[in-house]
Symmetry: C2
Subunit: 335 residues, 2 copies
């Protein structure tokens, strides 16, 4: 956590202020993302900071990183915590975990988080405007892991390649010979939209006419996947394959197929998304798009620490690649 | 948050300092794990602290509770974190999470934990002697959740009723009419011994002669459960039911049965232990002994906070009841 002793001498706030012809508090405001600086001055100061690579003095950050969950459930939360913990441990940083209580709002809960004086904050999937504003005002670096919604351009995030994942899942089914491929889509989140766009792109590339009646939108739960699949599979011209927006939905498809006496993959191929730990234990083991949650969480932690050191980062957002994991739930359609 | 007024007078830092023949700042350094105290002096002060039972004044506790995992894996870790988080949030206490690194030992890792100045520490399943000694010397309350090993009488813990769970699982199979009931036992931990003892007690109560060849001891993984079940089910006089020591082993039994063409529950009944979140999604949904991890973690956090307030507790160890959750993996044997 110390500067490289053989490197150039440290650039101080005073040096930046003198070079820019502004006061030290003005530079501090820019560094800490606070208001009260004109657009021109901010741009000039930021240009100099980027040029000279100002670093915050070592040790001026808190020694914990807090992971903020909206709701800590499902089998994926542990992967995220473990990914953060690995990088935090290497940096001798403690890991705090919190979730919104039933009576809490993000705007009040973030005050409690700030009260714990974390050096860094990681948000899982969601971040609100008050959270962004309050952390910026306190100069606490934050990163969103697996963002569910649209983010302003200056909010750092680590996501996954959702379009690519949807594309590779659908391509796999097309390569097996399927043509009537249904998709169970999720709610109106960008990551769901991207998965569906990957589906449509792959279908178009294979010159398969899109049948919009085969795309069903519902929630990302097993129960909703079950209901959607029951409806799709009860049609006279039922699909031969279903691509679900997450593994929970896919397990709902399993249940619907079982009730309807359809064998997987003999009479129905199924692909999920996420590769949660239990996907491999299903009967049959689920073919799914692996979402690298552990690596995403590690990368987000790295990014937060880099931002905290005041080092320039090449990009504030990145997506870590999905990988299609082929197991036993997909096969060529019966002709 | 005050000491029990009817208890003995509080031991002060000044008293410890005078008894040890050192200054008050020296005692403070020992209490707070700071350097600058010789090994001999530290040992003398820690000895006196342990002897007289110094308690920090109310309100001086750190505002975090740290959960120490040996290895944070499996689907149960989130239940524990959520259980701690619920009680901690009500008390406006932050939740720290850590696990032993691949290169760490409990003796060195606990120093890092203490360095984060947690108010309370919760250990999941395991606690070492150095961990106990160092936390006692620092007067940091700690509780073990779901202890795997034997504990000294003065180490507070919250476990579950393992004997009762093993008993009710076996009784359920006996009530269905099974007599050749195998048990896949786990390693030589007290909680595995208790589950097995529950099995033997239920068998004896039903006047079923125990066949020790039907009790197999192995590790608590899906792979080991699979191997054990493959062996048991390949015997000419194969069991009609298997009680596994945890759900992971039970999923291994599912796999073995599938490979051998045995239907569950038609030709084989299976009972697990834990009721991890995915037990309900299995095909068929698994009958299992519900281990109330969320409630255990909440109770352990409550207990740690009570100890931290210096309030007398009626018992330092408690077991929260298991509940048999009957799903679809058990049925009467085919006659």
């Amino acid at each position: 956590m110390t500067d490289n002793p053989s490197g150039p001498p440290a650039v101080t706030i005073a040096f930046i202020a003198e070079s820019a012809g502004v006061s030290i508090p003005t530079v501090s405001k820019v560094l800490n993302g606070r208001s009260g600086v004109s657009v021109e001055t901010r741009a000039r100061v930021e240009g100099l900071i980027n040029k000279y690579g100002y670093r915050r003095p070592s040790g001026s950050r808190g020694s914990t990183v807090e992971i903020v969950f909206r709701e800590m459930e499902g089998t994926w939360a542990v992967d995220i915590i473990r990914g953060v913990e690995r990088v935090a441990r290497q940096n001798r940083i403690g890991v705090l975990v919190s979730q919104l209580g039933p009576d809490s709002s993000p705007a009040t809960s973030i005050d409690e988080t700030i009260g714990r004086r974390p050096g860094f904050v990681l948000f899982v999937s969601e971040i609100s405007a008050p959270e962004q504003a309050k952390l910026k005002a306190k100069d606490i670096p934050f990163v969103v892991i697996n963002p569910a919604g649209e983010l302003p351009d200056d909010v750092p995030f680590v996501g996954t390649t959702n379009w690519r994942g949807g594309h590779s899942a659908t391509r796999h089914l097309l390569d097996l010979g399927h043509r009537r491929i249904a998709m169970i889509n999720g709610p109106d989140y960008p990551f769901c939209q991207a998965r569906m766009a990957g589906y449509f792109s792959a279908m178009a590339e294979a010159d398969v006419a899109a049948d919009s009646s085969l795309v069903v939108r519902t929630f990302l739960t097993r129960e909703h996947g079950y209901a959607a699949a029951l409806e799709l599979l009860s049609r006279p011209d039922r699909p031969t394959a279903i691509f679900a927006s997450n593994d929970m939905q896919a397990f709902g498809v399993y249940r619907a197929a079982r009730e309807l006496g359809l064998s997987i993959p003999g009479e129905l191929s199924v692909v999920g998304f996420d590769d949660i730990v239990v996907s491999d234990w299903a009967d049959p083991p689920l073919t799914t798009v692996h979402q690298p949650l552990f690596e995403m969480a590690s990368a987000a932690t790295d990014l937060a620490f880099t931002l905290g050191r005041g080092e320039p980062v090449r990009q504030v957002g990145l997506e870590i690649a999905t990988v299609l994991t082929i197991r036993k739930s997909t096969a060529p359609p019966r002709s």
